[in-house]
């Protein structure tokens, strides 16, 4: 069976597809979140060095991963929108930005809470923290540029340029711990080597990462649906939709 992908590139058909997918991802997100938090707080053993305080990892690491990953995805869709002039991809980029900014903020916030008991300070001007802060600024810049431009097509394209320029920051954040020998600890999980932590901790963290994924997908689809409705409000299918749901 072949799926006609182009069909779903049209905002009108994507709108209904997203509507069907949202409940599915929402339920998954809730289940995974509950499971992840349970493993994280009740099953995972206490860290011999960091004590109970390390448990913030279950929120901190997924948020930090998502913050970087979502930026790349956002820049990717914005770039596709710029190159091929596809409306839906640009709408997607716009929909991703607030969730990405939220995760960046959570990563910084939980990082501060982790830093206080571990390092004795809320904040250090360390390479990884600083570049994560820059990432937050980039998200805010992207959103405010789009908000300032009234014409949505121009806003999409202008946002795409600034998003693509900002992509250089992502590898800097990711490798900052290796490049600069700083206070932030190195990555504990890597695809190449066996993880340097207990299995229960790893499972809890991965479940939380999945939960963050599902949450992001559900929320982004929801936001994309709103953007579609807003931008396509002049078309006939939206008018019909209004008739049927009234």
């Amino acid at each position: 069976m072949s799926i006609n992908w182009y069909k779903y590139a049209a905002p009108s058909s994507f709108y209904f597809l997203a509507g069907k997918l949202i409940p599915f991802f929402t339920v998954l997100a809730v289940i995974l979140l509950v499971a992840g938090l349970y493993i994280g707080f009740f099953v995972a053993p206490t860290d011999f060095q960091q004590g109970e305080a390390y448990r913030i990892i279950f929120i901190h690491v997924p948020a930090a991963w998502m913050s970087m990953f979502l930026y790349v995805v956002m820049a990717f869709w914005a770039g596709i929108g710029l190159a091929f002039n596809t409306r839906l991809s640009s709408m997607f980029a716009t929909a991703i930005a607030p969730t990405g900014a939220l995760f960046t903020f959570i990563a910084l916030w939980t990082g501060a809470w982790w830093g206080k008991p571990m390092w004795g300070t809320w904040w250090v001007w360390d390479a990884r923290l600083t570049s994560e802060l820059i990432l937050l600024f980039l998200y805010i810049g992207f959103m405010s540029l789009q908000a300032a431009i009234d014409d949505p097509r121009r806003a999409d394209k202008a946002g795409a340029v600034i998003a693509l320029v900002g992509v250089v920051n992502i590898p800097i954040i990711y490798f900052s711990v290796q490049w600069w020998n700083t206070l932030h600890q190195g990555a504990s999980v890597s695809v190449m080597q066996s993880p340097k932590m207990a299995t229960a901790m790893l499972v809890g963290m991965l479940v939380m990462v999945l939960a963050a994924w599902m949450y992001s997908i559900a929320l982004i689809l929801l936001r994309a649906r709103n953007i579609i409705l807003e931008r396509e409000s002049h078309t006939s299918w939206v008018a019909e939709l209004k008739e049927t749901t009234r």
């Binding site: 600024f137 300032a148 431009i149 394209k157 320029v165």
Partner: protein, 209 residues
């Protein structure tokens, strides 16, 4: 070179730089040890802000009198024209700061070696500011609240240059090698020289649609 006819603009940027740099000793207090420690950062941040403030004029006058449309339809490639704009922006807003920096550095009691490193780092660094800043200026052309928006877009991208520019001076003051900082600044300059005119040209086309 038309910008030379509006000498007031050049002087405003320069005096802004001088005033901001002079404010810090008044705010922090005239303790020479502290001043010597913060001098590289202060001079670099002031250069960043001065360079950013003059970005608004980079395209806006051409945009208002229609010259920009003529540039867009001209037969020569747009990125070359944009590169010309960037170079002239640096000549009128970056170069005066570079020339002025050693004199202000003396006020902060920097050593001779630190002064030369500071000047050299600004010489490599300020063109990058003009190159990256032009992208932001082109994107916010004719947008309401454009001036504040430019700072929001451009300042995060300036941060690495600030870190390595000021870092070079601090490293030399601490007696460490500063070659690595200069190599990185040089790399930033080359990369932005290749990509920035192209990105700014694309942004201009988007803004002029």
């Amino acid at each position: 070179m038309l910008a030379m006819r509006r000498q007031a603009d050049v002087l405003i940027t320069l005096f802004f730089f001088i005033i901001v740099v002079s404010l810090f000793p008044l705010g922090v207090g005239p303790e020479m040890n502290i001043l010597r420690a913060i001098a590289p950062g202060v001079l670099w941040v002031a250069a960043l802000l001065a360079s950013m403030l003059s970005l608004g004029r980079l395209f806006s006058i051409d945009y208002m009198d229609g010259t920009l449309e003529q540039l867009l339809i001209s037969p020569s490639p747009l990125f070359l024209l944009v590169l010309g704009k960037m170079v002239s922006h640096w000549l009128v807003s970056g170069l005066p700061l570079v020339l002025m920096a050693p004199i202000l550095g003396i006020q902060y009691d920097l050593s001779m070696e630190a002064l030369s490193v500071l000047t050299l780092s600004l010489l490599i660094g300020t063109p990058i500011l003009s190159l990256i800043g032009a992208i932001g200026a082109a994107l916010t052309l004719g947008v309401r609240g454009g001036g504040v928006l430019v700072s929001l877009l451009v300042l995060p991208l300036y941060i690495p240059i600030l870190i390595f520019g000021a870092g070079a001076v601090e490293a030399s003051a601490a007696g460490l090698g500063y070659d690595a900082h200069f190599s990185l600044l040089g790399a930033f300059l080359l990369v932005s020289l290749v990509f920035a005119p192209w990105a700014a040209a694309a942004s201009l086309r988007i803004s002029m649609e």
